[in-house]
Symmetry: C2
Subunit: 338 residues, 2 copies
């Protein structure tokens, strides 16, 4: 089995996009279900997903374990794994970590650009690392099987998360800073530490993360993947397109501004270009993963390595990340009151 897994998307979901995922042979996607929404608002988003699962049972279902990727492939569907790009959904309540995991959350970013209750975002001037609550929440995420995602976090916070977490973490959607020096892209120090700790990087196709932006060439992107695989180890890289298909610009404003400011913050955009940037012509939607596969082949990468990058690595990572650390009682303990 050579699974095709995308490590992050936040599309304006529709039957059209769900069918494109099937046409593209996408077996599983980590989808963002919430940014700045609090717990109750996040549950409303889950309710919306539940209605899609009910409406399109022949196209999608909710993924909870790695075996759901196989199930998706065997039944010709796409498994949808939930993620949050900010910890707003757990509010100030560590008990919500397990509750969100029970509801299917499998990835949670500790920050989205700004300081959170847990860590510092990559747009803050001072990165003070994991907070007191941040350390507690990472331990709880480790316990229940909720992956720490540092895509939008600062350098120090990311290194501390890698260090403090007892399970490998992920940067689901970013590229190397050395290739394109965006605030959101990651230093070689971070990438090396991520790889050494068994973590995963998903390469982003979001134009603000690409050298040359929307005009970035396919081969340039794939050469960067090959070099980063050399740096981190081929087992620690995958795809995380950050595809925001069909989203209106009001959504990128919500992503950037939430409720934290009354002003406009353009994030990676600018006053001149406030909206979503146009995607590169070689990756418009879920039917274009073949282009990346072809580009990787053109770098001289072998079939097994290509398969690892396109989904095999994410599948292995899912397999060791989503279960609880102690699901069962040690057998000896439970016999005392029989």
């Amino acid at each position: 089995m050579k699974p095709l897994i995308d490590g992050l998307q936040y599309a304006n979901w529709s039957e059209k996009i769900l069918r494109q995922m099937r046409e593209g042979g996408v077996d599983a996607v980590h989808v963002t279900i919430t940014y700045h929404e609090n717990f109750r608002e996040t549950v409303l988003n889950i309710e919306k997903w539940n209605r899609w699962f009910e409406q399109f049972p022949d196209l999608i279902f909710q993924g909870r374990t790695a075996s759901d990727v196989t199930r998706a492939r065997e039944s010709g569907r796409t498994a949808i794994f939930f993620g949050s790009q900010n910890p707003s959904c757990i509010e100030d309540d560590i008990g919500l970590v397990e509750v969100m995991h029970t509801l299917g959350l499998r990835f949670m970013q500790l920050t989205y650009n700004n300081q959170s209750l847990l860590a510092s975002g990559c747009y803050e001037e001072d990165d003070t690392g994991l907070t007191r609550m941040g350390r507690e929440v990472v331990a709880e995420m480790n316990r229940v099987g909720l992956v720490v995602d540092m895509s939008h976090s600062g350098e120090r916070s990311t290194l501390e998360a890698i260090e403090h977490s007892t399970r490998p973490i992920a940067i689901t959607h970013a590229n190397p800073h050395s290739w394109h020096p965006a605030l959101r892209n990651k230093s070689e120090t971070v990438l090396r530490a991520l790889g050494e700790s068994g973590g995963m990087l998903g390469f982003s196709v979001y134009p603000h993360h690409l050298k040359g932006g929307s005009a970035c060439g396919l081969q340039d992107f794939c050469d960067m993947i090959a070099r980063t695989a050399d740096l981190m180890g081929i087992d620690h890289v995958g795809i995380g397109t950050d595809l925001c298909q069909d989203q209106p610009d009001s959504v990128v404003e919500w992503m950037r501004v939430g409720r934290w400011t009354k002003a406009i913050d353009y994030g990676e955009g600018s006053a001149a270009a406030p909206g979503f940037p146009p995607m590169p012509d070689w990756f418009a939607d879920n039917r274009d993963f073949g282009n990346i596969q072809g580009g990787l082949r053109a770098t001289g990468m072998g079939d097994a390595d290509i398969a690892a990058v396109m989904g095999g690595n994410w599948l292995r990572f899912f397999g060791t990340s989503f279960g609880g650390q102690a699901e069962e009682t040690p057998p000896g303990l439970s016999t005392r009151w029989q």
Copy 2:
């Protein structure tokens, strides 16, 4: 396997009570986790349960399917199944039915004594039956596998729930009105319709539901069970003690009054006896199920029937009630986009 299952408890949980469940050999209990709490408050109660599950993994774990009863028995623990005595936890949002089921809710009463958004309670003067939302919510509960519990509902509402529900419903804790004419006890019409539709009655040991109250004799109680089994069919009766062990009287006030009145409503109690009534001497806690078993034997009931009443019937009911009506896509449908 002869499982011991209690169809309802609302104790002030403690390690002492959890250990008494093990001493009593109780394999599974449907526990009330919420009354008038809204969704977020109910989630806080679930968080409290999650901490107990984490703290006492050798005594209890959360039950989700009938097979968890077997797993509990085999590992010498008690499976805890969540229930709500009022639909406050779903607020005015039908989407919360599936969310609560995902969080483990397996029983939900449509009312608690008063009119709710869904149906009429047994203390209302006029019972207007299922509301518009009530019919929709029952259908959704049927779809996801959340049992309709009418223990605190009025006669017409209960009959309409039996009729409208496409899956058998339950009255988890009540007794026949003909034996003790409390407002909470059920008419022969209701009991007969419940049995004919494949539903379940759990016999309550809560003194306000007993002939003679706290002074009710064990044999009187067990004779009533045997007669009711004749009326409803032996397959449709079980135990639902309504044990409220160690609860302070402030809790019975919350159960009765919630936030719906500024005055005091004594419910089944009175100004002279506002608190929890003392339990009958033959049922003080979870170690006393053997007394009921003995009492049933003294009525002349055979071993197989006693085993059915003490847990076998609930186990069968759990097995057909907690799963979704359409968990999987029909195989043919899913191959189109492979």
